[in-house]
């Protein structure tokens, strides 16, 4: 643990990782309860296309990935509404096309190199100071907006019709949630990479939902599990020379397993 006090790269990784993990966990609770868990997976693949496009055009890949992810997320929403597609079908379509486009663009850009692998597998330990502040700022904005609309998100997730009658602007909040998810997925890429970012969105939230006896507890527990996963994941990755992204995700899965077992034991009693 002394390493966290001594090494700047670990401090940067921890700072960015914690803020991004909390944003992922907060959104993850709502996405799971809306049966939208797979959207993180789909948007991650789309973000791969955005990153590849950025590398191809030699423009900031993260910025392009953000724009592509947000636009696609809104497109998935419209497709569900207007074309009468099931949500998972729309996600599967865009996910596949995103991955395919990314592969083509990466080949054209001749960028199967360290840069691309960093986005695929995450390189939180190589995060630069400017990236830290950008990530923290975006994560704070995401968390702030979710907290501001927390009760309305909860109401429309629980009972959409009643929420609508009560004056909740469910259409606008759907768009907001979609955009926040896209932003958070792109942020999460930096921590655990495109291939594992959906795990960071889903697993801590799923773990928190095992034991929470009310919604507030679900939010707090999920965030805590996400923070613990990042903190100890980074520590273990540094100590044993393991990839940070995989270690963080495996640790969060172990915590999910533990909470699941505790829930089962409580039920049996």
């Amino acid at each position: 643990m002394d390493a966290f006090l001594s090494y700047g790269f670990l401090q940067r990784a921890l700072l960015a990782g914690i803020f991004i993990a909390v944003a992922c966990a907060l959104l993850g609770v709502f996405l799971i309860l809306r049966r939208d868990s797979m959207i993180g997976h789909g948007l991650a693949h789309i973000s791969f296309a955005g990153v590849a496009l950025g590398l191809f055009l030699n423009i900031i890949p993260l910025g392009i990935a953000l724009a592509v992810a947000v636009l696609t997320a809104l497109g998935i929403m419209k497709l569900k509404e207007k074309a009468g597609l099931y949500g998972d079908t729309a996600i599967a379509i865009f996910s596949s096309v995103g991955l395919a486009a990314g592969i083509v663009l990466a080949t054209l850009a001749r960028s199967y190199n360290v840069d691309l692998f960093g986005y695929l597998f995450g390189d939180i330990l190589a995060i630069e100071t400017s990236e830290v502040w950008l990530s923290v700022a975006l994560a704070v904005i995401v968390v702030f907006i979710v907290i501001l609309n927390y009760h309305r998100f909860m109401y429309m997730t629980f009972d959409r019709e009643a929420a609508k009658v009560s004056g909740v602007k469910v259409g606008r909040l759907d768009v907001l949630l979609t955009v926040l998810t896209a932003v958070t997925v792109v942020l999460g890429m930096k921590v655990v990479g495109i291939l594992l970012v959906s795990a960071l969105v889903v697993i801590p939230a799923a773990a928190g939902l095992q034991l929470a006896s009310n919604f507030k507890q679900a939010i707090l527990l999920s965030s805590l599990i996400a923070v613990v996963s990042v903190l100890f994941g980074l520590f273990l990755a540094y100590s044993f020379d393991l990839p940070a992204s995989g270690t963080i995700v495996i640790l969060s899965f172990l915590l999910f397993g533990l909470f699941f077992l505790v829930k089962r034991v409580n039920k049996v009693r």
Binding site: L33, A162, V165, G167, L209, F215, A218
Partner: protein, 254 residues
């Protein structure tokens, strides 16, 4: 609300409403009013447009023709939704994994619009009062998914009345609830109507309830085939036609 003014004007004015799902007509030229203090049952066979009509009144669906006015305002322009309480048809199909406590479910109604500036203490008192009115005051910390269907329905009614609405809409509120619980449930609605002065509009298949509790009946079969006092309904042509048609109506003795 100025009660003397409200006595003169209908709370809800439904004018010439027609609605189609694609090419299929569901409602044809339905016109009626709901007045302060009514306990109105909307009945009719399956597919007669009852739920569609309620959704149109609440602004959840747009009619093909006609208009609805709530407290004199077109429903599109109405914004005072805390005067309206609503318990939807699928209220009993609660996700058992949803981690909301009873208290959180009832309090959802307060947070629907940000203009609801109430002190936290006042909100908690209102939630406690609403739960007491429905007999669920000792379940505050329980998860909604851990309750029975009848208990959940009471919680949803508590949520719908926590803002002291002037009018409460319920869509088949006793589906899946046992008979004894239904009786308690309708006694509670009776009390809300007669003692609290809440106007109630309820979709139901239960003729027994129509006979015992309601003051007004609206019978739908795409068109409005009857609207008036419940005492006259059972003698009406509309009632006889419904029974002759073999439509599903529940009847039980009191």
């Amino acid at each position: 609300m100025d009660s003397s003014a409200a006595d003169l004007k209908p709370l809800i004015d439904v004018r010439n409403i027609s609605f189609n799902y694609g090419p299929i007509p569901v409602l044809k030229e339905v016109t009626f009013s709901i007045n302060l203090g009514d306990f109105l049952a909307i009945i009719g066979p399956n597919g007669s447009g009852k739920t569609t009509l309620v959704k149109i009144i609440l602004g959840l669906l747009k009619p093909s023709r006609g208009e609805v006015r709530i407290l004199g305002q077109p429903v599109d322009e109405f914004f005072d939704w805390n005067r309206i309480g609503y318990v939807p048809q699928k209220a009993t199909h609660v996700d058992p994994l949803f981690p909301a406590s009873i208290k959180e479910v009832v309090a959802m109604e307060f947070h629907a619009v940000s203009s609801h500036a109430m002190r936290k203490q006042d909100k908690e008192l209102s939630v406690a009062r609403a739960l007491k009115q429905v007999g669920m005051e000792s379940f505050t910390s329980r998860r909604i998914g851990s309750l029975s269907g009848g208990q959940q329905q009471r919680v949803f009614i508590a949520r719908a009345i926590v803002n002291k609405p002037h009018i409460l809409f319920l869509d088949e509120p006793t589906t899946g609830v046992d008979t004894e619980t239904q009786e308690h449930f309708y006694d509670m609605l009776d009390s809300l109507n007669k003692k609290e002065g809440i106007t109630i509009v309820m979709i139901t298949h239960d003729i027994g309830i129509v006979n015992k509790h309601v003051s007004q009946v609206a019978c739908l079969n795409q068109r409005l085939v009857y609207h008036g006092a419940h005492e006259d309904f059972c003698r009406s042509k509309a009632f006889k036609e419904m029974l002759a048609g073999g439509h599903h109506l529940v009847s039980h003795r009191h």
